[in-house]
Symmetry: C2
Subunit: 173 residues, 2 copies
DNA sequence: ATCCTCTTTCAGTAAATACTGAAAGTTCAT
DNA sequence: ATGAACTTTCAGTATTTACTGAAAGAGGAT
């Protein structure tokens, strides 16, 4: 029978692969999601070269995606004393991962979308034709919903894990 | 000064364009999102040919994306008596749109992800090395979180708009 | 100042994804 | 059975997105 290390390696590979596929479905590039999965399941910090080797990708690719992950707040740079190289370490707490993704997506995508909706609303503000009025109302409904969702996101993202759990219990009661 | 119809047309175009960009960021193809935006703001049902013309896309493209939108439950086919052609009409209620997207993404993406996490968990179930144990715990945390989120989604998606509003009020209290 | 180690950029290329248009398929009226 | 009106499919192509690898940059140590 296979020894534990090999089985672990296989399970980890499956996780990395699937996390990559899932990321892609949600608009995150595959490599970025894979690196994230790799680091989430890494027992130790990893260097750029280690990531390159583990995923068989080029230095440029590894570098770009590592830096993107840092900008999303999903991994952080760690330096070892005596070494000049940078190492990377993932946030492993699931709730914290969720909060950071929520915060970033809000900032990068929800806010601009709201901006557009407000513009469209403003542009159709005083229209008198039925079509104009209908358009205005549709934009308003969308804006209300998105801004509501955005506030929800804020609220949740600012909660501590424990508080969120409690709230969830209440929710399911 | 421009007349209302032209201004409305422009506002609608902006909405269609931006909705397309937003869709792309969330892993939905641009054209599909644009057709959705177009139909959401259409005063009347539209035929495939009208969609083709409005977005300047080919028949094949229009057809494929219209059918995809139908499969997501975001638009429906309408037939006019006496006409053989199919027309399309979008769900315009924002809450209903949200529910349908939530339901579909759950079915298409969350469930398979959970499956993977369970496999990875099972594969590392009885490992004894610290690495194996850590991996198992990480998978478990992720599975718990995702399955929790999935249940939340179900719950919310099964709610009526009014009930959701009430819950939200409670949430913000 | 030169070399060494590591990071960053980016032009060129590969891969993935989306789109076109024409042909084939379907359905129904005559 | 033929044809008109429409829908569906799909091979080929275009566009977008992601990746590579090499060169340039940055920051010490000697």
């Amino acid at each position: 029978m296979k020894n534990e290390l090999i089985k672990l390696q296989e399970a980890r590979d499956e996780f990395v692969t699937q996390w990559g596929i899932m990321g892609a479905q949600w608009g995150i590039n595959r490599t970025m999601a894979q690196i994230h999965a790799l680091l989430m399941t890494a027992p130790e910090v990893m260097s750029t070269d280690e990531v390159m080797e583990a995923l068989e990708i080029s230095r440029g690719n590894a570098h770009t995606n590592l830096k993107d992950l840092v900008s999303w707040g999903l991994i952080r740079i760690v330096t070892k004393k005596g070494e000049r190289k940078e190492f990377f370490e993932a946030e492993k707490d699931v709730w914290e991962i969720f909060r950071r993704v929520a915060r970033e997506r809000k900032r990068r995508e929800i806010e601009p979308a709201l901006e557009t909706l407000r513009n469209c609303k403003a542009a159709s503000d005083e229209m008198e034709s039925p079509e104009g009025k209908a358009f205005y109302e549709q934009m308003e409904q969308l804006e209300d919903f998105v801004s509501f969702a955005s506030k929800m996101g804020d609220r949740v993202a600012s909660m501590q894990h424990g508080k969120a759990i409690k709230l969830a219990m209440k929710f399911f009661s």
